[in-house]
Symmetry: C2
Subunit: 230 residues, 2 copies
C-alpha cells in the first residue's frame, strides 16, 4: 500500500534529515515509498539481499534468530526513528544477513532504494553518522545479549525482563503470553512457565491467561541479582 511520503513525520523521526542538503529531501520525496505494514509482516528474512532500507516512523519491529528446534531469541527491537540496520549492513557490507525482522505492531515506514541509501552514505555526513551510530548501538545490543545468555541464570533474566517490561504507571501487569516471553529470552515455553509458577508460589507474581501481574517488585529485584550459572 504505497501512499505519498509523510515528509514532516519522517523529518520529526529523523531530525538530522532537516539539516541535510535540499537535494536529499527532494530524493526522499521522489524516491522514497511510504508503506504501512500489518503486525507479523517480515521486513528482512534470513539470507536476504535487501533491495532497500526502511525508515520507521511509527510502530515497532523485532529482530530475532531461530534455532534448529524452532526456538527463537530476540536480538533487539526497532523503534520509530530507527531503521533496520541489518538491511544497511546487507547493502553496504554486501553480506546476506543471518536474522529475521518482523513487525510487532502496525508499522509505518518509508522505504529508500539501496542505490539512494548508498549515495546518501557517500554524500551526507549526518546520514553517515546516523548509520555508524546505529550500527555501533546494535553491535552493543547484540553483545549484551551474548553476555545475558552466557553469564546470567534464566530466573534472574526472567525477573529483570518482567521488571523492565512493566508500564511506568498504573497497574503492574504485563500482557504477554509465556510463549512470547520465552521467545524474547531464547528459552522454551515450558521452562519459562515453570519459573513463572515458582515466582507465583513465592508470592512475587500472579498468573492469568495471557498476563502476568507483578505483586512484589522487591522479591523480583532479589531474584534479578542472582548471578553466574557455574
Amino acid at each position: 500500500m504505497a501512499t505519498s511520503i509523510p515528509i514532516e513525520e519522517v523529518l520529526a523521526a529523523f531530525p538530522f534529515l532537516r539539516e541535510a542538503p535540499p537535494e536529499v529531501r527532494r530524493a526522499l520525496a521522489r524516491e522514497g515509498r511510504a508503506v504501512r505494514l500489518e503486525p507479523g509482516r517480515f521486513i528482512c528474512m534470513e539470507g536476504d539481499r535487501c533491495p532497500g532500507l526502511a525508515l520507521i516512523t511509527a510502530g515497532t519491529a523485532r529482530v530475532y534468530k531461530t534455532g534448529e528446534s524452532g526456538r527463537e531469541i530476540t536480538l533487539y527491537r526497532i523503534e520509530p526513528g530507527e531503521s533496520c540496520i541489518l538491511t544497511a549492513t546487507c547493502i553496504l557490507g554486501e553480506e546476506p544477513f543471518p536474522a529475521f525482522a518482523v513487525t510487532e505492531t502496525p508499522v509505518e515506514a518509508v522505504l529508500i532504494p539501496a542505490s539512494v541509501f548508498r549515495r546518501w552514505v557517500e554524500q551526507v555526513a549526518g546520514w553517515r553518522e546516523y548509520v555508524f551510530r546505529l550500527m555501533a548501538r546494535r553491535l552493543g545490543d547484540v553483545i549484551a545479549v551474548v553476555e545475558e545468555v552466557t553469564f546470567r541464570r534464566l530466573d534472574a533474566r526472567l525477573a529483570t525482563y518482567l521488571l523492565q517490561a512493566l508500564p511506568p504507571e498504573g497497574e503492574a501487569v504485563l500482557h504477554r503470553t509465556h510463549e512470547a516471553i520465552a521467545t524474547d529470552l531464547g528459552s522454551a515455553r515450558e521452562v519459562v512457565s515453570r519459573l513463572l509458577k515458582d515466582f507465583e508460589h513465592a508470592g512475587a507474581v500472579r498468573l492469568a491467561r495471557g498476563a502476568v501481574y507483578v505483586l512484589d517488585v522487591d522479591a523480583l529485584r532479589e531474584v534479578a541479582r542472582r548471578d553466574g550459572r557455574g
Copy 2:
C-alpha cells in the same frame, strides 16, 4: 616501541589503501605509528573511549566479554588485514565499548589517530566500504555467538570447536589448555574438563598436559550434530 611505518606491509594487508588518493598514503606515513605488542596486552578495555584505530599487519587479538563471576566468552578474533572495529564504533558511534580486546600472539600494527580515521571515513570511499564491511561481518559474528550459546548444547559446541581448531595437516592435536577452551566457549573450566573426559572415555580424544589429541574425527562430528537444549 614506535618505529617507522612498514608501508609495504600495511598496503599488503589492506589492499584498498593502494587505490586510495596519494594524500591518504602520505597521511598514513606521517600520522600513523608502527607498534609491536607482546601477547597479553590490552588493545581496548571495556568502557574505553579510544584515541585511535589499530590496523593489524601481523598476529592475532581476541575480543571477549567477562561475566561477574570472571568467566569469559570470546566474541571474535582480529587477524592481519583487520582492525579493532570496536574502536571504530567507539570513534564513530561515540559510545564507550562494552568488551575487551587483548593480543594473543605478538601483534604488529599501525595506529591511526581518531581524527585521521574520521577524515578517511568522510573522504576515502574504499576506506568507508572497508569499515562498513568489517562492521557488518562483526555484527554477523556476534549474532552467530548468540545463536551458538542459546540454541546449541555445550557438548556439540565443544566438538565443533575441536574440529575447527585442528590443523589442516599433520598430527591431529590441539595445543590449548582446558581453561583457554572454556574461555572461548563462555563456559567454566570444570565443565569443559568433564566433557573432554567423556569424549576420552568414548575414544574420541586423548588428553595430555595442555593438549587434546583427536583420535576419532567421525565420533566428534556425530557429537557436533547433537542440537537443541530443550
